[in-house]
């Protein structure tokens, strides 16, 4: 019995389990297991998922020393490592671009790297060496604050499924080429790009997240897109561009996404969508679109309202709708086109699946109330409608409520909740 108690509990577990355990440790602790026993001496050298960050080295106040320690740690680790490396993630606020990082990338490109994520400190952006583009087995690539310059003979990452680029300096043509040359790409995130005109060709793309100052977004070939989240910032240049544009953005953007299930539009997206829009219904129906979230919708701009209407009317299976008004303006009571709603809304249209509606940042303007009225009258299975008034509106709330109470409801079970306290 005594022998049983002294029996080594863990060292003889299968290597795959040991690696799972070691991968769940911070990498510094994983390396320290080499001092445990003779069996454990080299167990850490074969882990395939490496995650490095500033916690790998003990902290000190002297930044150059810290940088050196981190570089030394990673270099020595890679040197002592044995076997393939599938994942390499580096996230540090201290390291800048350095020849060491280039060497690590060269090393990784020879070890069959599949998942690469690099986020360096603020300051001079990391200039990716050309060996990055020879990592042919990449399936996940995430780069932050990086300069990318693909070599002319770069044919794309043929295995890439997930691409996340944030604050990247890259010629616009190269961005489009990069995206279109990754045939298996399923998820794309582009953040904080400036003045980008983007035409997306990605036949397998399912998830798209865009955030930044985009001049133009055209989803040319994205038939499999399931979820889209766009946050568009507008500068003066872009606003000017919008005014001069003659194309219909709605069609350009939502023309080729029949499988879309979820759409999230933030900041100026609805404005973007509204440009070039005309009255009349669209033949395209989004049969799978279940969730729509549009923020910062300016109800005073009738084109924007038109865009929202067209969108929700083309989505027969819409289940959840969340609309937020502009968060920075007080109520502007504009006595505009009162016949708008009767004109534009198909009177016999019913939202057969719409169950949840959330309207936030409500200022109580005419068109906002008109919109709410429209929804209540045409949503027969509505369960909950939550209305949250804008924080800037204090006096108009009573009249808002008075109007609300008056609206007819198509759904007998509908709860209309007027949120008093701001969350």
């Amino acid at each position: 019995m005594d022998n049983d108690l002294r029996e080594d509990l863990i060292s003889d577990l299968p290597q795959s389990i040991i690696e799972t355990i070691l991968t769940k440790l911070p990498i510094r602790d994983a390396v320290r297991t080499c001092a445990l026993s003779s069996k454990w001496r080299y167990k850490w050298t074969t882990i395939t998922d490496l995650v490095f960050n500033d916690k790998c080295v003990s902290s000190c106040y002297d930044r150059p020393i810290l940088e050196n320690k981190l570089v030394s740690f990673i270099t020595h680790f890679l040197f002592l490592h044995d076997g393939p490396i599938h994942k390499f993630a580096l996230s540090t606020s201290f390291l800048q671009s350095s020849p060491d990082i280039d060497q690590w990338l060269l090393f990784l490109s020879r070890r069959g790297i599949r998942n690469l994520s690099i986020e360096l400190g603020e300051g001079e952006w990391f200039r990716a060496p050309s060996c990055l583009f020879t990592c042919s087995k990449l399936t996940h690539l995430e780069l932050v604050r990086c300069e990318l310059d693909p070599p002319p003979k770069f044919k794309g990452f043929l295995c890439l499924k997930y691409l996340n680029l944030q604050q990247i300096l890259m010629p616009p043509d190269d961005i489009e080429y990069l995206i279109s040359s990754c045939p298996l790409l399923e998820s794309l995130t582009l953040s904080y790009f400036d003045g980008l005109e983007l035409a997306l060709h990605a036949p397998n793309l399912k998830y798209l997240i865009l955030e930044g100052e985009f001049m133009d977004i055209c989803l040319e070939n994205t038939p499999r897109l399931i979820a889209v989240s766009i946050a568009m910032y507008i500068t003066d240049d872009i606003a000017e561009h919008f005014e001069q544009s003659s194309s219909c953005n709605f069609d350009k953007f939502l023309g080729g996404v029949p499988c879309l299930e979820r759409l999230v539009g933030q900041i100026y997206f609805t404005k973007y969508l509204s440009i070039g829009i005309d009255s009349g219904s669209t033949p395209i129906k989004y049969h799978h679109l279940k969730i729509i979230e549009l923020y910062q919708v300016n109800f005073e701009d009738l084109n924007e309202v038109l865009a929202v209407l067209r969108l929700i009317v083309s989505s027969p299976n819409l289940k959840e709708l969340h609309i937020a008004g502009p968060s920075n303006t007080a109520a502007a009571v504009v006595g505009s086109d009162l016949g708008f709603w009767e004109k534009e809304c198909p009177t016999d249209y019913m939202f057969d699946q719409l169950k949840t509606v959330k309207i936030t940042e409500v200022s109580g303007t005419l068109h906002e109330m008109g919109f709410i009225k429209f929804l209540l009258e045409h949503a027969p299975v509505l369960k909950v409608m939550t209305i949250t008034p804008s924080a800037y509106v204090t006096e108009g709330r009573l009249s808002m409520l008075v109007n609300l109470v008056r609206f007819r409801r198509a759904s007998a079970q509908a709860e209309v909740i007027f949120v008093q306290e701001q969350p």
Partner: protein
């Protein structure tokens, strides 16, 4: 099966799967629960086994009855589709509150049944038992043998971590090294002398003072001479009574100090060295020195210089070699030129 809010599920209506563990015992388990394990699921679908006691599915060797019970509890909870994420998480947290032995067995068993979520859960728990603990604590938890040498323990870590514990270990190790060094110094000095120092001139020089009748003969004479030289430089005075004393005294000084002194000695002029020795009340040496030819003096100086250089460059590696030979067979490459050139 009759459905309805008040339906009572009759026992004979549920289907069961029969499982057999390596100790021979057979259990019957509700089908939904058992099928949650991919390995059992596959066995049932591919081979049709498990439907009766005689055709019980043999579970892999790593699954003993107690652990099987735990695994089935896990499956029973998680196979119910309606549970919220929060509920599942709470259950998991409670579930893994086990000792190290059970956790290791559970991980192993879950792995053999291909129940990946449970493997991940238990691995995370084991990782938490390792994270942030000292090696001693981890060895205690998992009954690991402490079978690494000091050298092996520090080797990869020295490059990778600047852990204060490692620095402390390094210091302790350095102290141990020094002790070993001092103990082995006799052997070492002899070996080095043979290889490095040209015997003949020293022999001649020392022959007339070698009066102790030391059986080591030439070597002893060399040692005496060297020790005396060192003593002069470091300012240690003692009688020339026995070799042992001479051997011991320099040992009490840190080797770094010795080396440093010899170095500084070589940087001074030759005469200065002997002038220092002149101040020592060590008359035999003085007489001896005064009777040297200039040529012999030069030889001596050169040897002192050589020896100092070699001490600086070779001693650490030689020390390591000595230690490693004592502890394990591991060759340490030491490059020595014939004339002891510095690396």
């Amino acid at each position: 099966m009759p459905e309805g809010p008040m339906a009572v599920v009759k026992p004979e209506m549920k289907s069961y799967i029969w499982l057999q563990t390596t100790d021979g015992s057979i259990q019957q388990v509700e089908e939904d629960v058992a099928m949650f394990c991919p390995m059992i699921c596959r066995e049932v679908l591919q081979t049709g086994m498990g439907s009766s006691k005689n055709y019980a599915i043999s579970l892999p060797q790593r699954v003993n009855p107690a652990i099987l019970g735990l695994i089935l509890d896990y499956c029973r909870f998680h196979q119910v589709p309606g549970r919220s994420n929060k509920e599942r998480k709470t259950f998991d947290e409670k579930f893994i509150k086990l000792d190290a032995k059970k956790l290791c067995e559970l991980t192993s068993a879950a792995d053999s049944l291909q129940l990946r979520p449970l493997v991940d859960l238990t691995s995370r728990a084991l990782a938490r038992m390792i994270e942030g603990k000292t090696p001693e604590e981890i060895r205690e938890t998992f009954n690991l043998p402490d079978d690494l040498t000091e050298e092996e323990k520090l080797e990869p870590l020295r490059n990778l971590t600047d852990d204060p514990r490692i620095r402390l270990l390094n210091r302790l190790y350095a102290r141990k090294r020094k002790e070993l060094k001092e103990r082995a110094k006799v052997k070492n000095v002899e070996v080095e002398e043979e290889q490095l120092v040209d015997e003949r001139p020293v022999d001649e020089l020392l022959s007339f003072i070698n009066g102790d009748g030391e059986s080591k003969g030439v070597k002893a004479a060399k040692n005496k001479k060297k020790n005396r030289r060192r003593k002069d430089l470091s300012g240690n005075f003692s009688s020339n009574d026995s070799n042992c004393n001479q051997f011991k005294e320099p040992n009490h000084l840190p080797s770094g100090y010795l080396i440093g002194d010899i170095d500084s000695a070589t940087s001074q002029s030759k005469s200065a060295v002997f002038q220092d020795s002149a101040s020592v009340t060590f008359s035999p040496k003085l007489e001896f020195d005064n009777e040297l030819d200039p040529a012999m003096e030069e030889e001596l100086d050169r040897e002192v210089e050589d020896f100092a250089r070699r001490l600086n460059s070779v001693w650490p590696e030689r020390m390591q070699e000595m230690l490693s030979l004592g502890q394990e067979r591991r060759p340490v490459p030491v490059s020595l030129n014939g004339n002891g050139a510095v690396k």
